[in-house]
């Protein structure tokens, strides 16, 4: 397009010689076409899967510990096994609603390699006995929709999807469904509500774990696009090859989008569990350090919902069991980097505004509290805040997330980490996410707020009277 860069390519996709599981075709101009896909080993994983009993394929996925890439990191194979016995039909809902601030990977997977996703969906349906698949793509992603629609049409014509796939007797339809702009619909129960034609408001759990009661009240597997995109490779190369990459608790690779003040912002497929934030931000094969020779002030390690990290945490690897105790989470693979020029209250405001705006309005603390936080914060950013407002921010946060809230340790401030997760009074994570940036910013950069607010001056009532 005329304004700005090319559509999908960003530095980083094809640099270095790291293992590439899901981005292997990203360097090819025509990676989205059926011809190129098949020519580069596409649909081979499906063929192999169909050659084995479904239960065995499921076991393969289970033993590979394919962690969910949508945010929660729950192993896909285990999730598939949570469906109740003998309740049919079961559905697959593919979560392509990617909207978490900082997150940018599913769109690329859909635009650059739609057949890989389709193949992954088919493998999942086969292995878990799912009768129909609904591929829910975020509404604002026009190109992704066009690419996936084209890919599906081609795949149907070629017999990869639909009735009697590859003559195996396995039949499943993949229905392309598109959203219409609502971040919260990425939450799996809201996604199901939306797919049922309702307002995308999350359902409360229990009793509605989608694996047990999901779409139309039936057992439903919700998986992220990237999660499913891992399956073709896994089928071809096997669980052993998969787990040989990364660590036992975080095998394989994962896609991470690094944005903000680095030299080469981009989307990188990194080795799970071992790559550290320092590697990613400063390594030459990745972002290559800070932009304009500035220094790192803070970074958001796992999407806008995640509590912030400081340079103190740079040596942590992409491994949930280490990031959690350090006070944050890995979420959806999105790192946002702030250098020393960053206006911290303002940066926090951009995130809090996002979550306040995206609240579905279902639960009181998020609906009211999110906006309340945003209002106070923007007053402070505009230089109209008082020191009482700073306490009020924390108080409002307490009504959303009672008790201690996770944060990073800081040598400079002499504080220890409060580990993840937090307690919450809300149904889903949108409410807490509105508070997370406020809490991190206030805890780690209090002085920037103090400098912004005016002292509250108590005017005695008598003085007011005297002035009249």
């Amino acid at each position: 397009m005329s304004a700005g860069g090319t559509n999908s390519f960003a530095p980083g996709f094809y640099e270095g010689d790291r293992p590439r599981i899901v981005t292997s075709r990203f360097g090819l101009e025509d990676s989205h076409t059926l011809a190129r896909f098949v020519a580069t080993g596409g649909y081979e994983g499906l063929r192999r899967a169909l050659g084995r009993p479904a239960g065995e394929v499921h076991d393969e996925v289970r033993s590979a510990t394919v962690l969910g890439r949508g945010g929660a990191g729950f192993p896909a194979g285990t999730k598939w096994g949570l469906t109740p016995q003998e309740v049919w039909p079961r559905y697959l809902v593919v979560n392509g609603d990617e909207s978490e601030p900082g997150t940018y990977k599913d769109r690329l997977l859909m635009e650059r390699d739609p057949h890989q996703l389709i193949e992954g969906c088919l493998i999942a349906c086969y292995a878990a006995g799912l009768s129909q698949c609904f591929l829910y793509i975020r509404g604002e992603m026009a190109l992704a929709q066009e690419r996936v629609a084209t890919a599906l049409n081609d795949a149907y014509a070629a017999g990869y999807v639909g009735r009697n796939i590859l003559g195996s007797g396995f039949s499943v339809d993949i229905v392309l469904h598109w959203g219409a702009g609502a971040y919260v619909v990425g939450e799996e129960t809201a996604l199901i509500e939306s797919l049922e034609g309702n307002r995308g408001m999350p359902r409360l759990k229990p009793p509605y774990f989608p694996a047990a009661i999901g779409l139309y009240g039936q057992p439903t597997i919700v998986n992220n696009v990237e999660t499913l995109a891992n399956l073709p490779w896994l089928m071809v190369n096997g669980a052993e090859a998969y787990t040989a990459i990364g660590t036992p608790t975080s095998p394989g690779t994962r896609m991470v989008a690094v944005s903000g003040h680095v030299k080469r912002p981009g989307v990188y497929e990194i080795v799970n569990g071992t790559t550290t934030f320092r590697d990613l931000l400063f390594g030459e094969e990745f972002c290559g350090g800070m932009r304009d020779g500035r220094t790192l002030k803070a970074f958001v390690p796992g999407g806008g919902s995640a509590p912030w990290f400081l340079p103190d945490q740079l040596d942590l690897p992409f491994e949930a069991s280490q990031v959690g105790p350090a006070g944050s989470m890995l979420g959806s693979g999105a790192v946002m980097v702030m250098d020393d020029t960053t206006d911290i209250p303002r940066a926090a405001l951009t995130l809090t505004r996002f979550y306040a705006h995206e609240s579905c309005g279902k639960c009181t603390p998020c609906r009211e509290g999110g906006t309340w936080l945003e209002r106070i914060l923007s007053r402070i950013v505009d230089g109209k805040g008082t020191d009482a407002d700073l306490d009020q921010l924390m108080e409002v946060g307490q009504s959303i997330c009672p008790g201690a809230f996770p944060h990073a340790s800081s040598e400079r401030l002499g504080i220890n980490a409060t580990p993840f997760p937090y307690r919450m009074n809300t149904i889903c994570f949108v409410g807490p996410s509105a508070f997370a940036p406020v809490h991190s910013a206030l805890t780690l950069f209090r002085e920037e707020f103090d400098a912004r607010v005016t002292r509250r001056i108590h005017i005695p009532v008598s003085a007011v009277g005297a002035a009249q």
């Binding site: 609240s359 579905c360 309005g361 609906r367 009504s399």
Partner: protein, 786 residues
């Protein structure tokens, strides 16, 4: 059940309830049942957990977060919403910890953040859960200093309900009710997040028959009812629990008054009956009791016109006519109490009258009560309900709600036999359309259908039976019922006769004797064979479908006495009019459609000198020298106990048994004769005259808020039939047969099958009744453009 062997002589094993669990709430051990919610278990134990969105009769949504409690979990105490979390054995629940208290205060503060706090001008102020809980569980002050949300204040969302979005706390109660309970999703949340609001679709008002319930369950003052707005403050209200007698469902209510004027009815949650719901007609017709047009003094005809007189003069005149030796007839009685009906039955006995009927030729023979009887609960719990009945949504709205709930949420299968689509059609498992007169054939086709007959053979069948069509004789329905019961002999029957206390009146002395029903009484009167015709809250000129017969009957009776609250069309023709105490002005008992006896109460002073019907009967008995010795309601109930022990016992206990006591007379089936109906000529339409909730009935027409809700007279036909007739929608057509003709606007409707014409009854506009003759089993008409 355990299978361990027990030897004789050992104490028999007490079966362990597999659903029983034990939890602890605030250290107290509480017995609960599997699947029950923590909040419900706590409610039972008197441990109040504050809440806004939770309502025990609707599915939980867990939105407001006010009911957060602490539950001991594997990783320490967890905050859970008690309205969504089911109990589990050994669960440890705490509702009063510091943590819980903070959460509750936090929620209240959030809810008040955007609330306008306009309590002094809010109808709900003083009885507002938000206000109350702000005091009991709130932080005591708000630190919200930002600008609040602003919306246009109150906007009418229907003729009856106003919405103030600034006060709304978005608990989803009204919207959930509309969707889930009423099945009228005409209001919905719109927008998102902090801008979420409840709204209707533009130009499509919340015209639900059940809209008033949303006002009642609104936990703030966001929804207010037009008839109650600014009428009273809660602290001025007095109230008593009663039973609505607008129709025969008999919803439990509280009747509220302020300064001796009725101001509001609210539904009471009676488990076997109404679950707290009411229909709008029942809820808002208190206005008619307050009407300026109420009768307050007796009237007597002098020189051709009615003039005020005293009770003694009026009663003397009536007694004189009754003593004259000519035949006395009593029509009506279903509007009053059991005691009213009983005393009038006694009076009829005393004057040797064989002419009495509590129905206006618009119901079914009272022999339906001698069939094995079902209750509302048993119908809802049945495997199959066969509907051989009018549109329950129009006639018995809360029964509709109950059956709808059973069908949509509990697997009840409804087989509907009806002439056109009804409110339950979308929820029916099978719908069979039949022309008027053809119900017997419809039943035969149901029985011949493999699936439906298998379903019926599955057992637990209830037949809901009523009079669906006033342009058709009741005999066809009875014959169809008979056919059904011979094939499914174990089925029970729920008769759905519509008038408030029709079942009580028929059971307590006002049922026809020797087949002398309203039609034959009117025929006799027309022939000059009735000396004194008493209209006991009855208005044959408006209500009897054969209008010609009603006119001849009233005109032919030598002396007509009307006991009524209003000067109805018939009362205006009477020789003596006695003002009757209305609902809310007298104590007593009533009997609902399932034979449930419950109490009705006096809340305000009767208008003028009006009296309860039973008092009038007692007075007349005295004047006739047959004093029954009753001076008080208790005296009447004693006498009633002697004659009708079951009713008497029930009446005596309803003060404490607030859900009432079912008195049924169910016995054996008596065969009903088959009816043969000549086929319709293909040029004709077969006429259905059926009721809508809103019509010209006095309680509705005299309630200003509902007076304009009647849809108006029209003839509904299938779109293709409208085309055949050559009439565009809304155009006037001539509907005629050999008796008469009438001009009505035509409405094409996919709900009506071809060949059938549906005309709503008793509507503003042209009167269709001239076409109907009582002697003919069905009514055929011709429709032409004019």
């Amino acid at each position: 059940m355990s299978t361990t062997e027990t030897n004789a002589g050992e104490t028999p094993e007490v079966p362990v309830d597999p659903n029983a669990v034990s939890i602890s709430i605030n250290g107290r051990s509480v017995a609960a049942r599997k699947g029950e919610l923590i909040i419900a278990a706590a409610d039972r134990e008197g441990e109040y957990i504050p809440r806004f969105c939770y309502h025990p009769r609707m599915s939980s949504v867990g939105m407001c977060r006010q009911c957060l409690v602490e539950v001991e979990g594997p990783r320490g105490p967890m905050m859970v919403v008690s309205c969504m979390t089911p109990v589990a054995d050994g669960q440890v629940v705490r509702t009063e910890t510091e943590q819980v208290k903070r959460a509750q205060e936090g929620m209240i503060e959030m809810l008040l953040a955007n609330h306008p706090l306009d309590c002094p001008v809010c109808d709900t102020g003083g009885e507002c859960p938000l206000q109350d809980q702000a005091f009991s569980h709130g932080p005591g002050e708000s630190r919200f200093v930002e600008e609040k949300r602003h919306y246009e204040k109150p906007i009418p969302i229907s003729d009856l309900v106003f919405l103030d979005r600034e006060r709304c706390i978005l608990c989803d109660r009204c919207t959930r009710f509309a969707r889930e309970v009423a099945g009228d999703p005409l209001i919905s949340f719109t927008q998102r997040g902090n801008n979420t609001q409840v709204m209707t679709f533009p130009d499509e008002p919340f015209a639900s028959y059940f809209s008033g319930n949303t006002v009642q369950i609104c936990p703030v003052g966001a929804l207010t009812a037009q008839p109650y707005r600014f009428k009273a403050r809660p602290w001025d209200l007095e109230q008593r629990e009663s039973t609505c007698t607008t129709c025969s469902v008999g919803c439990r209510t509280v009747v509220q008054s302020s300064r001796d004027e009725l101001v509001r009815y609210q539904g009471v949650d009676s488990d076997p009956v109404n679950w707290g719901w009411m229909c709008d007609r029942g809820r808002f017709n208190f206005q008619s009791v307050n009407s300026e047009d109420r009768l307050g003094t007796p009237l007597m005809r002098r020189d051709g016109s009615l003039a005020a007189t005293s009770w003694s003069v009026a009663l003397d005149a009536v007694a004189r006519e009754m003593r004259s030796g000519g035949a006395v007839a009593v029509l009506g009685g279903s509007r009053g109490t059991n005691e009213d009906a009983f005393m009038w039955g006694l009076l009829a006995d005393a004057v040797g009258s064989t002419m009495r009927d509590a129905q206006m030729d618009d119901g079914l023979p009272s022999s339906v009560f001698s069939l094995p009887q079902a209750t509302i609960d048993s119908a809802c719990a049945a495997g199959t309900v066969v509907l051989l009945a009018p549109d329950l949504k129009e006639e018995l709205p809360v029964l509709h709600i109950r059956l709808r709930d059973a069908a949509t949420r509990h697997g009840l299968r409804i087989i509907e036999i009806a002439s056109h689509d009804t409110g339950l059609t979308p929820h029916a498992w099978r719908s069979v359309r039949c022309e008027p007169g053809a119900q017997q054939d419809a039943v035969r086709s149901v029985l011949a259908d493999a699936e439906m007959s298998a379903q019926l053979a599955g057992g637990n069948v209830v037949v809901v039976v009523g009079r669906a069509n006033l342009a058709e004789s009741a005999a066809t329905t009875m014959a169809a019922l008979d056919g059904l019961l011979s094939a499914v002999p174990a089925a029970t029957v729920l008769p759905v006769l519509r008038r408030g206390n029709v079942r009580g009146a028929l059971g307590l002395g006002l049922a026809p004797v020797d087949g002398n029903d309203t039609a034959s009484v009117l025929e006799a009167a027309a022939g000059g064979k009735v000396a004194c015709l008493v209209l006991l809250g009855a208005d044959p000129l408006s209500d009897v479908a054969d209008a010609d017969l009603a006119r001849r009957g009233i005109a032919g009776a030598r002396f007509v006495v009307a006991v009524d609250t209003f000067l109805t069309r018939s009362a205006a023709q009477a020789d003596v009019v006695l003002p009757a105490a209305a609902y809310g002005e007298k104590d007593g008992t009533t009997t609902n459609l399932e034979g449930r006896v419950s109490n009705v109460v006096q809340k305000i002073t009767p208008r003028g000198t009006s009296r309860a019907d039973w008092m009038v009967a007692a007075e007349l008995l005295h004047l006739l020298g047959k004093d029954a010795g009753v001076a008080t309601l208790a005296d009447v109930q004693r006498l009633m106990s002697a004659r009708f022990p079951a009713f008497g016992a029930a009446a005596a206990s309803v003060e404490v048994r607030r859900n009432g006591v079912v008195v049924t007379s169910g016995g054996a089936r008596q065969p009903a004769p088959a009816v043969s109906v000549t086929p319709r000529s293909s040029y004709d339409f077969r006429l259905v005259v059926s009721r809508k909730l809103y019509d010209l009935a006095v309680g509705t027409a005299q309630s200003p808020s509902m007076a304009n809700l009647a849809p108006g007279a029209a003839v509904l036909v299938h779109p293709l039939d409208a085309e055949r007739v050559g009439a565009r929608d809304g155009a006037n057509v001539k509907v005629s047969n050999s008796h008469s003709s009438v001009v009505l606007p035509v409405v094409s409707s996919g709900a009506v099958p071809r060949g059938t014409a549906v005309v709503p009854f008793n509507q503003p506009g042209a009167d269709v009744r001239g076409l109907i003759r009582r002697g003919e089993p069905v009514t055929d008409v011709r429709i032409e453009t004019v």
